[in-house]
Each structure stands twice: as C-alpha cells, then as structure tokens.
C-alpha cells in the first residue's frame, strides 16, 4: 500500500522509513518537491509527459496527469519542439526564448508553426495519452501580456489576437492544451461520475 508522510524533514522520514514493513511503500514530501519533478530527458513530448506522470503515480499511487508542450515551427524543421522551454539555454526566460525564435525567423518567409501538447494520464493503473494541436503563425514582434511562454508571438489560425491577448477562457477554447484537456475530461467523464 502507498502511504505518504507529510513532512519535509529527511531525518524524520529516514527514521520512520526504517521501521516500515515491506508492504508499505512510504513516500514523503521531499519526493514531490523537485522542480521540475523529474529531469525531462526524453526526446519527444510524449516521452517527457510520461516521465513527469510516472514520478507521481509510481511513487504515490496517485491518479495524476502531466503535460509536455512544444512549439513546432515548420521552417525550423519542428524546432524548438521538445526543447521549447529551454530553447535559449537551461535558465532561459520566456523573453530569451522569444528573442532567439524571432532572430531565427528573420528573413524567413514561412512563419507557420503549431503548438502541440501531449498529456499522459495515470488513472487507476491505466495509462492514456491525449494530444492537442493548434496551428498558427509567428508574429514579428510580441503582442499582449497574458499567458506565458511563446504566447505573445503566436497568432492562432483564424484569429486576430495572439494567445497573450486572450483571457484564460478564450485561450483554453482553441489552444493545444485546451484541446488535450477537453479530451482528457471526456475520457474521465465516460469512466467516472463526477
């Protein structure tokens, strides 16, 4: 059985862990507090989503999900893709990443791109994946201050506002992550009453 000791104190955890019978899998808050929860070492969005999902579900038997999201730019052969959050380096800010992207697309006629989210869900022992895609173009300068990541330079197809100019509800309605989450909720609603 899974049981969590609600402490950050490693000394307490070690003492108690030493006493636990083999059948009790003891976790503690230190296991959950890594940021990010696991090293994102996979080479695909799906792989990284699954890594993050397992970190919680394996150790704690928790029903949980994780997402991994990438911006895939056509003329950059799908870059930054799985490296979107660290495109300009491991400590890169959103502004750094956007700047690098705009430079890479200078003098480039094709500014087509898509955001793609893969969600890995662990539910009562089963693993399921859900994908959401949102196509659009990369603007030449940022617009708007909502959202995060590349939102200020991403203009979704058929819309006149960037993701950073939309509120949460507007963005969720059409976004990659919003679409993936809708599929997740639909799956859950078929299997459970909530």
């Amino acid at each position: 059985m899974n049981l969590i000791f609600a402490t950050h104190n490693l000394n307490k955890y070690k003492e108690v862990k030493a006493q636990m019978p083999a059948g009790i899998a003891l976790g503690y808050l230190g296991d959950l507090t890594q940021d990010p929860p696991v090293a994102e070492t996979a080479e695909t969005l799906k792989g990284n989503a699954e890594l993050k999902m397992w970190a919680l579900s394996k150790g704690f038997g928790l029903n949980c999900f994780a997402d991994d999201t990438g911006l895939e730019v056509t003329s950059l052969d799908g870059a930054p893709g799985v490296y979107s959050a660290r495109y300009a380096g491991p400590q890169a800010t959103d502004a750094d990443n956007i700047q690098k992207l705009l430079v890479a697309l200078e003098e480039n006629g094709n500014r087509n791109a898509q955001f793609r989210t893969v969600i890995a869900l662990y539910w009562d022992g089963e693993v399921h994946f859900f994908e959401g895609v949102c196509r659009g173009t990369i603007l030449e300068a940022p617009r708007g201050h909502q959202g995060f990541g590349y939102d200020p330079v991403f203009l979704p197809e058929g819309h006149t506002q960037t993701f950073a100019e939309m509120n949460l509800g507007q963005k969720a309605h059409i976004s990659h992550r919003g679409i993936a989450i809708k599929k997740l909720i639909e799956w859950l609603s078929k299997r459970n009453s909530f």
Copy 2:
C-alpha cells in the same frame, strides 16, 4: 474526484483549472511544495499534526499521516513542547535550541523530560491519532552525532546512550516517534493486508 496535475508551472495550472468541471478537484505540485506544508499554528502537538495531515489529505485525497513532536521538560512546565523546533527563534538551528535549553536548566536540579509524538493519520476518509512518549533526562552537554533536534542532550530512561549515540534501529525501538509509528503500523495491519 481528486486529480493531480504534475506540474510546478502556475500558469499551466491556472489554465487547466479554469477548464475543469466542478466535480474534478484539481491539485498541482505547488500545493505540496510549501515547507513546512502548512503553518504550524496550533497550540498542541495533536493540533499541529492534524493541520499537516489535512494539507495533503484534503487537497489530494491521499492516505497520509503527519507527526508533531515536542520535548517536554518538567521543571520548565512542559516547555519547549509544541515550540521545540523554534525554541530559540523561527530560524533556530538544532544547536541554537540545545544551547537555549542548557542555559534554561543551569542550576536546575530537576532535569527530567519526555519526548512526545502525536501522529495524525488520514486513511480512506477516517482520521486517527497515535501517541508515543519516551521519558528521560537532559544532559549538561551534547553527546553523539546521529539523530537530530535535541537528540544529543536526551538520555532515555534505562539507557546509557543518548538518542544521538544510537543508530536508527536502536532509536526507533524505544523512541517517542518509534512507539507512535508502531501503533500506526499495528492499526494499518488490522485493517489492510500489506
């Protein structure tokens, strides 16, 4: 139903939370990563243990337990008690706390004390408490480098080693926390096969 989003990213969490139907209680890793997990504002060990336990069980539906432990010194009317970890101030180290205790007991003939642990367990919707007490005396100077907290100055009754001179197994066999954990395991073993 409880579902955890395995992310530290508050922006992602806010987006997804906004989409969730009312029946899905969504948590995220940020809720778990406070240190300590909750403010320990209760005036009893039992109260603090329960506060820490609820922080995990309420938000996440997790089976978990939390402990709170205090050193209760007879001639100090039970101090430092519930304030043991912050006896010498909110940022106090173990050494600071021990130093303050030794000064408080200078020229004091009665050095009797007890360690007391209260564990609050949340298990499948039920809440249970388990207590462990270990009586002993406060030495005039620290001895040993194992354990933590006041262990180097606590000599348990009937023993010649301080807690800080014992290994994990020896300490767990007689300690306040070890006794409380034994009761917890016994309770779990009666209700579950593990």
